[in-house]
């Protein structure tokens, strides 16, 4: 009987938990805008409060199992030359029942804490700001119906950036125009799928004013990675300002480049897809839905929040070739630089 040489101790294995733990710890210190472990609102916090103890239990079990394995590796390794058999233990029913029942009890306890949170988070909040969220390839559209309680007298339609008042629950109605997306602003709540043909209730709330980033979390096609979003939470005054601003209509430019751009907007077919309240109201019936541009320049980002509106170059690049965002449903002919200048001048008036 040839025996293969006994191996040396497995030092490497001991490194593993250390490595993993230190990585996890370093994670908590880093600065990530979508960090799920840093909730900024009551709903996200509820989840965090549930996750943390479970995570600790997991860490405890992890340490127990790895500890036992490591101990066994060190303690029970076979010394060279030792040909004897260890005690031939076939099992121990009591022990085995023990480690069947114990985890069951632990998990039962976890379950008891989990179920109420599920129901809590599924409840539609009262007195909340109502927003209809529509997902489509590959951007978000938001509609605020008139709600006097929040100062909204005319419906507001906007895109990609969701504005909310801080400290107030927001009730979302999620729907999709095409495939399944998933709405997710990690610091404000978990995610919820946006399914065509169904309307899902979901909710958000931010403790403090601020900008919270998020993105589509269900694979929805070629530009799934480019379907991001921002939630902008305002304080009371800021919210009132925003609403007031959104209730005004932009004034139609009458002279200069902007006026030429205004005409181009129709000539080049932009108005076939895009609405501008008070100016270009109706869109072609067969157009893909496109962002409402009424208050375009009051936003920070565009096209699924992957480009900056501040940066004139990015807007122009977009008009030069909207396909730079892969799979974008905005299809236009080639525009000359002069046309782009004029269109930009017009778009800039849409504040």
């Amino acid at each position: 009987m040839t025996r293969l040489p006994a191996a040396r101790r497995r030092k490497g294995l001991r490194l593993v938990p250390v490595l993993a733990l230190s990585l996890l710890l370093s994670a908590c210190a880093s600065n990530a805008p979508q960090d799920t472990l840093k909730p900024e609102g009551p709903y996200a916090r509820k989840i965090d409060h549930l996750f943390n103890p479970v995570f600790l239990i997991a860490v405890a079990v992890f340490c127990l199992v790895q500890g036992l394995v490591l101990f066994a590796i060190v303690k029970f390794r076979r010394r060279p030359g030792d040909e004897d058999f260890p005690e031939q233990l076939h099992g121990n029913t009591r022990l085995e029942l023990g480690w069947t029942i114990l985890p069951a009890i632990i998990l039962g306890a976890v379950g008891v804490f989990t179920v109420p949170v599920i129901f809590d988070l599924s409840e539609v909040p009262k007195n909340a700001l109502q927003v209809e969220v529509t997902g489509q390839k590959y951007w978000w559209s938001y509609t605020y119906q008139a709600q006097s309680k929040f100062g909204i007298s005319d419906p507001i339609i906007t895109a990609n950036e969701l504005h909310i008042p801080a400290g107030v629950p927001v009730a979302l109605k999620l729907d999709s125009k095409d495939v399944i997306h998933s709405f997710w602003a990690p610091r404000l709540n978990g995610k919820k799928d946006v399914v065509p043909g169904r309307v899902h209730d979901w909710k958000l709330e931010a403790d403090h004013p601020g900008v919270y980033s998020g993105q589509c979390a269900e694979f929805c096609g070629i530009s799934h990675a480019n379907m991001r979003l921002k939630v902008v939470a305002h304080d009371k005054a800021g919210w009132a300002d925003w609403v007031a601003h959104m209730q005004t209509k932009p004034t139609k430019p009458t002279s200069g480049l902007a006026a030429e751009g205004y005409d181009l907007f129709a000539q080049k077919g932009c108005s076939g897809c895009h609405q501008v309240d008070g100016e270009y109201q109706t869109v072609a019936a067969d157009s893909p839905s496109a962002p409402n541009l009424t208050h375009l320049f009051s936003r920070d980002c565009f096209a699924g929040c992957i480009y900056n509106l501040d940066d004139r170059n990015e807007v122009e690049a977009w008009l030069r070739n909207p396909q730079r965002k892969a799979g974008s449903l905005m299809r236009i002919g080639q525009l000359s630089e002069a046309e782009i200048d004029r269109l930009y001048a017009y778009l800039e008036t849409l504040k």
Binding site: M1, T2, R3, L4, A6, A7, G12, L13, V16, L19, L23, S26, A27, S30, P33, Q34, D35, T36, I47, V54, F62, V69, A72, I73, F76, R77, F85, E87, Q88, L89, H90, E96, W99, T100, L107, V110, G111, T114, S122, D178, V179, S182, W184, P186, G190, K192, D193, V195, P196, G197, R198, C216, A217, F219, I222, S223, H224, A225, I306, A326
Partner: protein, 665 residues
């Protein structure tokens, strides 16, 4: 027509006729060496090797796809792949790894080992076994054949509706995916039927169910899961195919369909599937650990029953993949709870392995290292699984890299580590050559480190909010470092794999003479390495669990174990004479070769489908009508065959039935 020549077509005379000459048997292939012997073989051991080699090849392909993914994600705004290619890469990576690597690899082990472990000459239906392999191979090739025409699926391995419909995925990539998986599904189903019957019916005398080696047990449970899970995904694929190719409405939201229907069907299959992927690996590890701890498996009955329990519970948890899909709170709560409790039987396994290690005399061969690594690494994946089962926290985690971390820890840290433990363990048995232990250790540590480096950081990334399946990510999200580490880790795994390949190539020179080099416990070690075509010269009889070990050792008067001088073995001094093995056959290959044509035909031209259908149909009849043992072939020089070698139409007609069905689909 021809039928009337022998007798009138409609015959009334009573009784049998003496015309017992078999119908439609061709000249049978006879080679026992060379490539022809491999494509016509019906020997479960060779088929096992074929499965293994194919799966390993696909592993390299799936791994290369993963390396592409990691190359792209190593830095923010990566430019290695276009978004289109990226989506194709992860879709094919996931599909390949699940359906073309782990499943067939475990089929390889099951095929090779089950008959040996239960003391049988072969599986119950050797030619059906060959058929399964070829169908699997052609399914895989079909799946990849779309790549030649640049028609590659790009909707993820679970391919959610409605993005999978023609409206949103107009190319043929998804068609190749749907049809390819249906073909591979036939293979799994036939394999499952075959192995279930083998385990139930072909056990050596005395091998009661509770004496069955634990690997066989776990593989059996997995076959039952396959038996019931495959039809469910077949329904889903079938409906999708009808939608895409024939204008059905099953997932067309505009026609009022519910897109969540797909998710339910897929995950009712999908969750049992993940246990199909891991239970046999658990079985492997449960064989390896006792051998190198030199003590029996701790709590064999608990191990068996926890495996069965996992199999059962696996059916009641599928909606945990859909926590965020919009089910009501009651459903979510119910599936949360059911999911949590699946940790209980799995925990039993972990602790029983530790129990086996405990008090043993551990010998750290490479196989043992991989086995112990499974115990420790799988636990990490299992525990992150439990954190998903807390559905509110899953609302944060789902579709992020935290999930990716979870399933790679269970799949790589579980299935793959288990499989490689099996490689190092059974290599000498299968090839009569040893893998080098030193290189093996290097391989092991490269993988252990590379694996943790790749997938450990993904936990962090997921919790920091990086969604999965995103072709790029922006700078400034705090994800750069972890992604880079992960990519470095992936390439480390790649290096480790090359080391393994090197080891395999080098093993040609390491001939082992001892058929039982590890002093192992189960019957496969009681025959020569590699085992003869007929497995055992003398058919075993079994009187205990770990039969072979009990034949080697006895308890002496001093209450110590003593090795018997000449353990009662199953190798005879002179080769046995009267063993009739099933003869090789061309038909399985022909049947399987028809299926891709049916697939291409459904996509491009019905003429091709007709041709493929004919090939398959005729092949099935050829297989059914040909006797399992070729009457013309000489067997081991034995003259007075009392076996009549009848064709055994029924079983294969049955197989035919369902192969046809799938073909007709």
């Amino acid at each position: 027509m021809a039928l009337t020549e022998e007798r009138p077509l409609l015959e009334l005379t009573a009784g049998d006729d003496e015309v017992r000459q078999p119908l439609g048997s061709f000249r049978r292939p006879t080679s026992t060496t060379g490539w022809r012997s491999w494509i016509t073989t019906v020997d479960h051991k060779r088929i096992g090797i074929l499965y293994g080699a194919t799966a390993l090849t696909f592993f390299a392909i799936g791994g290369l796809e993963a390396l592409l993914i990691r190359a792209q994600l190593a830095q923010p705004n990566g430019q290695v792949l276009s978004p289109e290619r990226y989506n194709q890469a992860f879709t094919m990576h996931g599909t390949t790894m699940v359906f073309l690597v782990i499943m067939p690899m475990l089929a390889a082990f099951a095929n090779y080992l089950i008959p040996l472990q239960i003391g049988a000459r072969d599986v119950a239906f050797p030619r059906l076994n060959a058929l399964s392999f070829w169908i699997f191979l052609f399914g895989g090739l079909f799946l990849y054949s779309g790549a030649v025409l640049d028609q590659i699926a790009d909707n993820g391995w679970f391919n959610y509706a409605p993005n999978s419909g023609v409206l949103y995925s107009p190319g043929h990539g998804i068609d190749f995916w749907t049809l390819g998986l249906q073909i591979a599904g036939i293979a799994s189903l036939l394999g499952a039927v075959n192995l279930i019957v083998t385990c139930i019916n072909m056990r050596a005398p005395g091998m009661t169910l509770m004496r069955m080696p634990i690997f066989t047990w776990m593989a059996l449970v997995a076959q039952f899961l396959l038996l019931f899970a495959i039809p469910v995904i077949t329904v889903a694929l079938f409906l999708l195919m009808f939608d895409r190719l024939f204008g059905g409405n099953f997932f067309v939201v505009q026609k009022g369909a519910d897109p969540l229907m797909w998710q339910h069907l897929f995950w009712i299959f999908g969750h049992p599937e993940v246990y199909i992927l891991v239970l046999p690996a658990f079985g492997i590890v449960s064989e390896v650990i006792p051998v190198f701890a030199r003590k029996p498996l701790f709590g064999y009955p608990f191990m068996v029953f926890s495996g069965i329990a996992i199999g059962f519970m696996g059916w009641g948890v599928w909606a945990h993949h859909m926590f965020a899909s919009g089910a009501g709170p009651v459903t979510v709560a119910a599936f949360s709870l059911s999911t949590m409790f699946i940790a209980v039987p799995t925990g039993v396994k972990i602790f029983n392995w530790i129990g086996t290690l405990w008090g043993g005399k551990l010998q750290f061969t490479t196989a043992m290292c991989f086995a112990i690594a499974l115990v420790s690494q799988f636990t990490i994946g299992g525990l992150s699984g439990v954190t998903h089962s807390i559905s509110p926290s899953d609302w944060q985690q789902t579709d992020t890299y935290y999930i990716v971390a979870h399933f790679h820890y269970v799949l790589f840290g579980g299935s793959v580590f288990g499989i490689f433990a099996g490689f190092y363990f059974w290599w000498p048995k299968v090839f009569g050559r040893c893998l080098d232990e030193k290189i093996g250790k290097i391989h092991f540590f490269t993988w252990l480190i590379g694996f943790n480096l790749t997938f450990g950081p993904m936990h962090v990334l997921g919790l920091q909010g990086q969604p999965r399946r995103t072709a790029t990510y922006a700078d400034g999200m705090g994800w750069n470092l972890m992604n880079l580490l992960s990519s470095i880790g992936a390439f480390t795994i790649g290096v480790g794999f090359l080391i393994f390949i090197f080891n395999v190539v080098k093993s040609r020179n390491n001939v082992v003479t001892d058929p039982d080099p590890w002093d192992a416990r189960t019957l496969e070690w009681a025959t020569s390495s590699p085992p003869p075509a007929h497995n055992f010269d003398i058919s075993p009889t079994v009187s205990s669990l770990d039969e072979w070990w009990h034949r080697k050792y006895e308890l002496g008067d001093d209450h110590k174990l003593h090795r018997r001088e000449h353990p009662e073995s199953f190798t005879a001094a002179t080769p046995p004479e009267n063993i009739h093995l099933p003869s090789p056959s061309y038909w399985p290959l022909i049947i399987a070769a028809g299926l891709p044509f049916i697939g291409w035909g459904l996509i491009y031209s019905y003429w091709l489908a007709g041709f493929g259908g004919l090939l398959t149909f005729v092949g099935i009849y050829g297989l059914v009508l040909e006797p399992s043992v070729d009457p013309d072939a000489g067997h081991h020089g034995h003259a007075d065959t009392h076996d009549t070698h009848e064709p055994e139409p029924a079983a294969v007609v049955a197989g035919a039935a369902e192969a046809e069905e799938d073909a007709d689909q």
